[in-house]
């Protein structure tokens, strides 16, 4: 068996990081010296074990309120935290096991996070001459006046969570003329930068939940009522709940981190526990006064990657996964998990099946993922394959007669991305029956999120039968993508349309449907119903969204549906001879241009157009029957 660190990959990564750093940072010369202008940057407080090195790599002793200069590197150990302030309105807190380099030039400040998490709270907007950037190896976050969290998840992935205000995140993107891409991350969102190919990153936006606020940030929130109010106003986060549970959350985070360190220590051969062994987090040597002492001798870098390029057994793969952080089955490599074998990718570890590599789970064999499993090659399942962690890439093929799976089986042209969603790739068209197969025939004990990428399309024909999107399922039509419904789609989940949806058959919405693209109904669209669980079904046409009715369009289908809701902040056009039936609540803050008939039930329909307008054109009319 050949053992090798994937040096080519590391070199490429290093080159990319370097390119990104050079391209995205301010001029290097600007950071070379710390000018006297601007407020002082200070380490205002340190808890636990905090290490400080100057730009020459000399370790300095730490004391409260000490001034920091450009090039200084702060590192925190387990259960240790550091507070950095620029002035009374700009506070940054380093989480445990975090490493940050500060760069300052006049009133321009940059924080380079190479590991861990960093909480920031900028209470007042920066002046035009000021800047505050938080940089990781994959993205730069520009702060103007906001609070949130930056986290380095691994060498290729970073994330920024925004608690109030918004930030601009810049990532490298070779596909653009500038070589960069900017994404806005708003309050209540997490923007996660993910690698796309070998030289680009994209930012995926996700909703922020209380569970996403780590303990070290929650305790800062608990100390600051003014911040609590800002977050409560800006997001749907349960601020009171976060504050009440902050201390417990912090203890839990610390316990989990300690458990992980202990586990790593045990696997590394019984190294002493209770402290981090990573060199950058090692506790500083005691030293008198202010005298810097030489850096400790560097420890050998542990081998964390292993590449397999020959056939191996399941038992051999399990042994590698137990030893190494990342195992890659390279092109030409293969794994056969035999009937009696059970392989598990442990939590926190990664198994990558590269293009040209194969993994076969034989009948009676088991492959379970608790960590990260990336499949760019081929995984064939005749036994059992399950996912409790993160699955990325092509779907396994499930070919055995007795095979079972707890993982999405997707048609050709679909992959699962790190955002946990199934993407229909650009250039791919899938049918309604394919969509049904994904939604109905997979194990649906977990939610299914489908994203139709730009350039991809889905067509539901009459012969496909009704496609039902369940409450745990989401369907996103990206800008530049399309969904055509010539058959029937029943939505009890969430549909987000940023592209084009065209209905010539029937679309029933019993869930949430948000449109910011183009939605054309030439068949029947029915929004909402009153059911055993109350009224269900909401349609929101966002600003910029266009709805065109060239068929039958119902907001509620009888007077029993009086509490279903349609909110229009965009544009609705009702064509000549066509009807929009209003039995439910209709809030029009945008524009309704009516060439046909708006038929409002006097018994149940409610149309509020206080903040919008309705233009009846040609023979267009509104009718409300007694």
């Amino acid at each position: 068996m050949k053992k090798s660190v994937s040096s080519i990959r590391l070199r490429r990564l290093a080159a990319l990081c370097l390119a990104l750093m050079l391209a995205l940072s301010l001029g290097t010369a600007a950071w070379a010296e710390d000018t006297a202008s601007g407020a002082d940057l200070r380490l205002t407080a340190a808890e636990g074990t905090v290490t400080l090195k100057n730009s020459s790599g000399k370790t300095l002793s730490v004391r409260d309120d000490m001034k920091l200069y450009s090039g200084y590197v702060l590192s925190t150990s387990a259960k240790s935290y550091a507070y950095v302030t620029l002035d009374s309105t700009k506070v940054v807190k380093l989480d445990a096991s975090t490493k940050v380099e500060v760069r300052k030039s006049g009133s321009k400040l940059e924080l380079l996070v190479s590991a861990g998490k960093l909480f920031f709270n900028v209470k007042a907007p920066l002046s035009p001459s000021e800047s505050l950037n938080i940089r990781t190896s994959t993205m730069v976050t520009g702060i103007r006046g906001t609070s949130g969290l930056v986290e380095v998840r691994d060498g290729l992935t970073s994330a920024v969570s925004i608690y109030d205000g918004q930030v601009e995140v810049t990532t490298a993107n070779a596909a653009t003329e500038s070589g960069f891409q900017t994404t806005t991350v708003a309050a209540g969102q997490t923007g996660m930068s993910l690698p796309v190919g070998s030289d680009s990153w994209r930012v995926i936006l996700e909703g922020l939940t209380a569970e996403d606020v780590p303990g070290f940030a929650a305790v800062e929130l608990a100390k600051d009522p003014e911040l609590q109010q800002r977050i409560a106003e800006a997001t749907d986060l349960p601020v009171a709940e976060i504050v009440a549970g902050a201390k417990g959350r912090l203890e839990r985070d610390e316990d989990e981190a300690q458990a992980e360190l202990d586990r790593i220590a045990d696997e590394a051969g019984g190294l002493p526990n209770r402290t981090s062994q990573a060199p950058e987090f090692a506790a500083p040597q005691p030293e008198p006064g202010w005298t810097p002492v030489p850096d400790p001798a560097p420890e050998p870098t542990p081998v964390v990657d292993y590449t397999v390029s020959t056939p191996i057994t399941g038992a051999e793969l399990q042994s590698l996964l137990n030893t190494y952080q990342t195992v890659t089955i390279a092109s030409g490599g293969s794994v056969t998990i035999a009937a009696s074998e059970s392989v598990s990718v442990p939590a926190g570890k990664s198994l990558t099946v590269a293009a040209g590599a194969t993994v076969t789970v034989a009948a009676g064999g088991t492959l379970t993922n608790e960590g990260t499993l990336t499949n760019n090659g081929s995984i064939s399942n005749e036994g059992y394959i399950g996912n409790n962690g993160t699955y990325i890439g092509k779907s396994p093929s499930n070919s055995g007669a007795g095979s079972t799976y707890n993982i999405l089986i997707l048609p050709e042209g679909m992959v699962t991305s790190a955002d946990g969603k199934c993407h229909i790739n650009s250039g791919t068209s899938i049918s309604g029956s394919d969509l049904k197969e994904i939604l109905e025939n997979n194990n649906t004990s977990f939610g299914i999120g489908i994203v139709v990428d730009s350039g991809a399309s889905v067509t539901i024909d009459a012969g496909d039968g009704a496609v039902n999107l369940l409450s745990s399922q989401t369907l996103t039509i990206s800008s530049g993508a399309s969904l055509t419904i010539a058959g029937m789609l029943n939505n009890s989940g969430v549909i987000v349309n940023q592209g084009t949806i065209s209905v010539t058959g029937t679309m029933n919405n019993y869930g949430s449907f948000t449109n910011s693209g183009n939605f054309t109904n030439g068949g029947t669209y029915a929004n909402g119903i009153y059911s055993a669980t109350g009224a269900v079904g909401t349609l929101t046409n966002e600003a910029g969204g266009q709805i065109t009715n060239d068929g039958k369009f119902y907001n509620g289908q009888t007077t029993s549906d009086s509490s279903v809701t349609l909110t229009n902040d965009g544009t609705i056009v009702n064509n000549s001879g066509k009807r929009i039936y209003i039995y439910g609540i209709t809030i029009n803050n945008g524009t309704i241009t009516n060439f046909g008939l708006l038929l409002i039930s006097q018994s149940s329909g409610y149309l509020d157009t206080t903040y919008g307008q309705i233009a009846n054109v040609d023979d267009g009319e509104m009718s409300q029957l007694p």
Partner: protein, 269 residues
């Protein structure tokens, strides 16, 4: 003329009226549906749902037409006390098919005569005109077509068409299969189907031949007909709101356009 057809369900309970908190959502009144189309007011059946003030809130006019499916009492008991029939300025055309040799008036007078009822039809002040039911006829601009139902003693199924839209009223109907050719042809593509669904499949093992359909069978027929919307009616009197909601949810997962009718509910076509 507004081409809209307006339908309001006044009674969707079958067999006999019920009342109480367990029946508040779907209602306890027996068969009665108001239809307003082409300026004409049409009353489908005169069960106990016809009582109360619903009439005044609909389209109270000097003239109305009453299409009675058959003379079983749960379809007639709203007729004798119906207030407008005591108004001399009102004219009411009553359509009821001649059965067992008895004309429409004779069937009505069987009920409206002592000792069953103290007031006879000829004591009513309105201009009452009784008609047999032809296969097809018109009420103003509204077209009416009929077909014979499968029900003990017979019953009439009505199809009302106006402005390119149609409503089929098929209560007290026991279809012989999930796809009865004659009915599916009659109701094909209708805008609204009001269809009998009194029993569950389990109940039907004991109620076969009573002249009523089952919920799954009627849902299948609605799908087969291509009805744009379907409201199942003639709910069994022992069926509570909770039970009906659960049954409706189960049906809706298979047939999204099929729901259970509720007393007071209105549909615009």
């Amino acid at each position: 003329m507004d081409p809209t057809i307006q339908i309001r369900l006044l009674g969707v309970r079958g067999t006999l009226p019920v009342h109480g908190g367990d029946f508040a959502s779907f209602g306890g009144g027996t068969s009665c549906v108001l239809v307003w189309a082409g300026g004409e007011t049409i009353i489908l059946d005169a069960g106990t749902g016809l009582s109360g003030r619903a009439w005044q809130a609909f389209h109270p006019q000097r003239h109305c037409s009453m299409l009675i499916t058959h003379a079983h009492v749960d379809h007639l008991m709203g007729f004798p006390p119906f207030g407008p029939l005591f108004d001399p300025t009102v004219r009411c055309d009553v359509y009821l098919k001649t059965r067992e040799g008895r004309s429409a008036r004779e069937q009505m007078e069987t009920l409206m005569a002592p000792p069953l009822w103290p007031v006879r039809t000829d004591s009513m002040k309105a201009d009452l005109r009784f008609h047999d039911v032809p296969g097809a006829f018109s009420i103003g601009p509204v077209e009416i077509k009929t077909m014979e139902s499968r029900h003990p003693g017979g019953s009439t199924i009505y199809k009302i068409t106006y402005g390119g839209r149609s409503v089929v009223y098929a209560t007290d109907y026991e279809p012989e299969s999930d796809a009865p050719d004659d009915f599916c042809a009659f109701a094909e593509g209708c805008s609204l189907l009001l269809l009998d669904a009194q029993y569950t499949s389990e109940e039907y093992t004991c109620t076969r031949g009573f002249g009523h359909s089952t919920i799954p069978r009627s849902a299948a027929i609605a799908h087969r007909c291509g009805a744009e919307q379907t409201l199942l009616i003639h709910h069994d009197p022992k069926r509570t709101d909770r039970h009906l909601l659960a049954l409706e949810e189960a049906v809706r997962t298979q047939h999204p356009n099929v729901r259970f009718g509720r007393q007071g509910e209105e549909v615009l076509l």
